[in-house]
C-alpha cells in the first residue's frame, strides 16, 4: 500500500476494527445489532447521495424514491417470483440505475443546481404517490410484508449479527469502488464538470452524458441500499420513497461531510445513535433534530468528518515536524504531492 492510500484509509483501519468488534462487545442484543445494520444501510444510501452532492456538486430531492424503488424491486422479485434475494441485490441496483438513467436524461439535459433539486423533488413525490396508490402492485399504504431474508448455503441470514457483517462487507466494497472511481477517466470527467462545466466541455467532456451516467450510478447504489433494507427489516412500504428518508440521507451526508468518502459512514453512525438516544424524548426528538441539524450546518458547514480530520491533523503537526501528505487534493500543499 502506498503512502497515499495509507493516508486515505488511515481513519478506516482502526474504525474497521471497531466496526468488526462492536457487535460482539457493546451491541450485544439483537435490537442494538439491528441499529448497526441500519447504520450500514444508511451509510450506503448516504454515500450514494454524496456521489451526487460531493462528486457532481448537484442535488437530488428524489433520491429516497430510488431507495424505496430498489427495496420494492427486490422484495417483489422475492415475494412474487420466488427469486433469491441475492439476485434481488443485483436486480434492484440495475432497475434503479435504469430508471435513474431515464430521469437523469430528462432532468440533466437542461437543469442544474436548484432547478434540478426541485425537478427531482417532483419525480420523487410522483413515485411516492404511485407507490401509495397502486395497491395491486405495492400493497398500498401498508406495503408488503414477509419479505424473505437472503440465505447462504441453505442457511437463512436472519440474525442481525450475520446480516451486519454481510452489509459491512458490502459497504467496504462500495467505499473501495467509490475511491477507485475517483481516479478513473469517468471519475475525473465527472469531477471536471463539477469544478467547471464550461472548461470541461471545452476539453471534450460531454457534460450531459457523464452527468446522466453519474446520476444513474448514484441511483443504482441507493437502490442497492434499499434492497439491503428490504431483506433485513423484511417489509417495504411507500414511506420508504418519501421525504422522511430523503431528510435522513441528507442529514447523514451533511453531518458527516460531503466529498469525503468516510463522512457519510460517520454521519450514518451519528444519526442512528443520536436518534436512538433521543428516542426517550418521543415527539420532541424530531424537534431537537431540527435544532441539531441547524447547529451543525452553522458551526460545521463542511460536516463532522472534515472537522475531525482537521483537528487530528493539527494535533499530528504539533507532535511531529515531518509533515504527512494531506488527505485531500484540496488541502494538499505545493510539493507534497509527488508520487509514482
Amino acid at each position: 500500500m502506498s503512502v497515499r492510500s495509507t493516508a486515505r484509509y488511515g481513519f478506516g483501519v482502526p474504525v474497521l476494527g471497531v466496526a468488526l468488534l462492536v457487535p460482539l462487545v457493546l451491541f450485544t442484543n439483537s435490537y442494538n445489532r439491528g441499529l448497526l445494520v441500519l447504520i450500514v444501510i444508511y451509510a450506503i444510501g448516504g454515500l450514494s447521495l454524496d456521489y451526487i452532492m460531493g462528486e457532481m456538486g448537484q442535488f437530488s430531492f428524489g433520491h429516497a424514491a430510488f431507495w424505496g424503488f430498489g427495496a420494492y424491486v427486490s422484495a417483489k422479485l422475492a415475494l412474487d417470483l420466488g427469486i433469491s434475494p441475492w439476485i434481488g441485490f443485483l436486480a434492484a441496483p440495475v432497475a434503479a440505475g435504469l430508471v435513474g438513467l431515464l430521469i437523469g436524461y430528462i432532468a440533466l439535459r437542461r437543469t442544474r443546481g436548484l432547478e434540478l433539486a426541485i425537478v427531482t423533488l417532483g419525480f420523487g413525490v410522483l413515485a411516492w404517490t404511485v407507490a401509495l396508490r397502486w395497491r395491486s402492485v405495492t400493497g398500498g399504504p401498508s406495503g408488503l410484508r414477509q419479505v424473505p431474508p437472503p440465505s447462504l448455503f441453505g442457511w437463512e441470514i436472519r440474525s442481525e449479527l450475520a446480516y451486519y457483517y454481510l452489509a459491512l462487507l458490502l459497504l467496504l466494497g462500495v467505499v473501495f469502488i467509490l475511491s477507485r472511481m475517483r481516479e478513473s477517466r469517468f471519475g475525473r470527467a465527472v469531477r471536471s464538470i463539477h469544478e467547471n462545466e464550461d472548461l470541461a466541455k471545452s476539453i471534450g467532456v460531454s457534460a450531459t452524458k457523464y452527468y446522466v451516467f453519474a446520476f444513474s450510478f448514484a441511483c443504482a447504489l441507493v437502490g442497492f441500499s434499499g434492497a439491503l433494507y428490504a431483506h433485513h427489516f423484511r417489509f417495504v412500504n411507500p414511506n420508504l420513497l418519501g421525504l422522511q428518508y430523503m431528510f435522513i440521507f441528507l442529514i447523514v451526508v451533511l453531518v458527516g461531510g460531503t466529498g469525503t468518502l468516510w463522512g457519510p459512514v460517520l454521519g450514518a453512525t451519528i444519526f442512528v445513535l443520536v436518534s436512538e438516544w433521543l428516542r426517550a424524548l418521543q415527539e420532541y426528538r424530531f424537534l431537537i433534530f431540527g435544532v441539531v441539524l441547524l447547529l451543525v450546518v452553522l458551526f460545521m458547514p463542511r460536516g463532522v468528518y472534515p472537522t475531525l480530520r482537521k483537528m487530528s491533523r493539527r494535533m499530528r503537526e504539533r507532535s511531529e515536524t515531518a509533515g504527512e501528505p494531506a488527505l485531500r487534493a484540496e488541502n494538499r500543499g505545493p510539493g507534497g504531492e509527488q508520487r509514482g
Binding site: 469502488i177 477507485r180 472511481m181 481516479e183 478513473s184 477517466r185 469517468f186 471519475g187 475525473r188 470527467a189 469531477r191 471536471s192 469544478e195 467547471n196 464550461d198 472548461l199 470541461a200 466541455k201 471545452s202 476539453i203 471534450g204 467532456v205 460531454s206 457534460a207 487534493a329 484540496e330 494538499r332 500543499g333 505545493p334 510539493g335 507534497g336 504531492e337 509527488q338 509514482g340
Partner: protein
C-alpha cells in the same frame, strides 16, 4: 487550405446583433488575429464557432465539415479547442490534476482498469504522468506541479489554461484575450509559446486587445466593429487602415 471558415455568421440577442454576417477564413497553420473594440462581438464570435452558443444564422465549417451548432465537446473531439476570456481553470485542484482532467479525450484507461488497478492501467497512468510533465514543461509550470490552481499568479493561470487546452491535442486553438493581466515579460513568453505551437502545426485564432501582441505574431488580422467585419489583412495593412484607426485605435486614443 482553410481549416476554419464562417459564412454569414449572425447572432441576434433580442433585436440586437452581437455578430452580424461574419465571414471569417482561417488558413491551416497560420496565426490569425481577431481584434475590435470592446463589445464588437469578438467573444460572441468565438462562442459561436466553438458551439457554446447557437448562431441565429450562418454556417461554420471546420476541416471541410459543417459544424454549425455542434456541441463544444464534440468540437473538442475534432481538435477545435478554446480558452476563455476570464481565466478558467479547475481552481480547487492541483496543477497536476488540472492537466490530468484536461487529458480526458486522450486518456486510454477503462473503468475496469481503474477499479482493479491492472498493470495496463498503471502503465497508462505513468504515461499520463509523463504527458503532464511534458505539457507543464512547455508552459514553464513544472515547478508548480503540486500547487493548487487557485494559488497561481495571473501569468501562471494563463499558462496553465493553455496547457489544459493543449492536453486535448488541438489542431486549432482559439485563445480569448490570453494576454489580459500579463506583464510585458509574461506577454513575451506567451508570444513565444504561441509561435512554438504554430511551428508544431497548431492553427491559432487569437482574439486580443493587446495590439503589440497581435501585430507581432499574427500572419493576418480581422477587425470587428459592431459585430461586423470592417477590415482584414496583414498587420501592416491593418495598422494603416483608416476605418480601423477610427473604430478602434481612434477610440482608444480618445479614451
Amino acid at each position: 487550405m482553410a481549416i476554419l471558415r464562417t459564412e454569414g455568421l449572425t447572432k441576434l440577442f433580442g433585436g440586437l446583433s452581437a455578430v452580424n454576417g461574419l465571414d471569417l477564413l482561417v488558413e491551416e497553420g497560420e496565426i490569425m488575429g481577431l481584434i475590435g473594440p470592446n463589445g464588437s462581438g469578438k467573444t460572441t464570435a468565438l462562442n459561436l464557432i466553438t458551439g457554446f452558443i447557437k448562431p441565429t444564422r450562418g454556417k461554420v465549417t471546420y476541416e471541410g465539415g459543417d459544424v454549425t451548432g455542434a456541441q463544444p465537446h464534440d468540437l473538442a473531439g475534432l481538435g477545435l479547442v478554446r480558452t476563455f476570456q476570464i481565466t478558467t481553470l479547475f481552481e480547487n485542484l492541483t496543477v497536476r490534476d488540472n492537466i490530468l482532467h484536461g487529458i480526458h479525450l486522450h486518456n486510454p484507461s477503462s473503468l475496469m482498469g481503474a477499479l482493479t488497478r491492472s498493470r495496463k492501467y498503471r502503465d497508462q497512468q505513468t504515461m499520463m504522468g509523463e504527458r503532464v510533465e511534458e505539457l507543464l514543461a512547455m508552459v514553464g509550470l513544472e515547478p508548480r506541479i503540486g500547487a493548487m490552481a487557485r494559488d497561481l499568479s495571473a501569468g501562471e493561470h494563463r499558462y496553465l489554461e493553455i496547457a489544459i487546452a493543449l492536453a486535448a491535442r488541438p489542431r486549432m486553438l482559439l485563445l480569448d484575450e490570453p494576454a489580459t493581466g500579463l506583464n510585458p515579460e509574461e506577454a513575451g513568453f506567451l508570444m513565444n509559446l504561441i509561435r512554438t505551437l504554430r511551428d508544431d502545426g497548431v492553427t491559432v485564432l487569437l482574439v486580443e486587445h493587446n495590439m503589440r501582441l497581435i501585430t507581432n505574431i499574427c500572419t493576418r488580422i480581422t477587425v470587428l466593429n459592431f459585430g461586423a467585419k470592417i477590415a482584414e489583412g496583414t498587420p501592416e495593412e491593418i495598422v494603416d487602415n483608416e476605418d480601423v484607426v477610427t473604430a478602434y485605435l481612434g477610440k482608444r486614443r480618445g479614451a
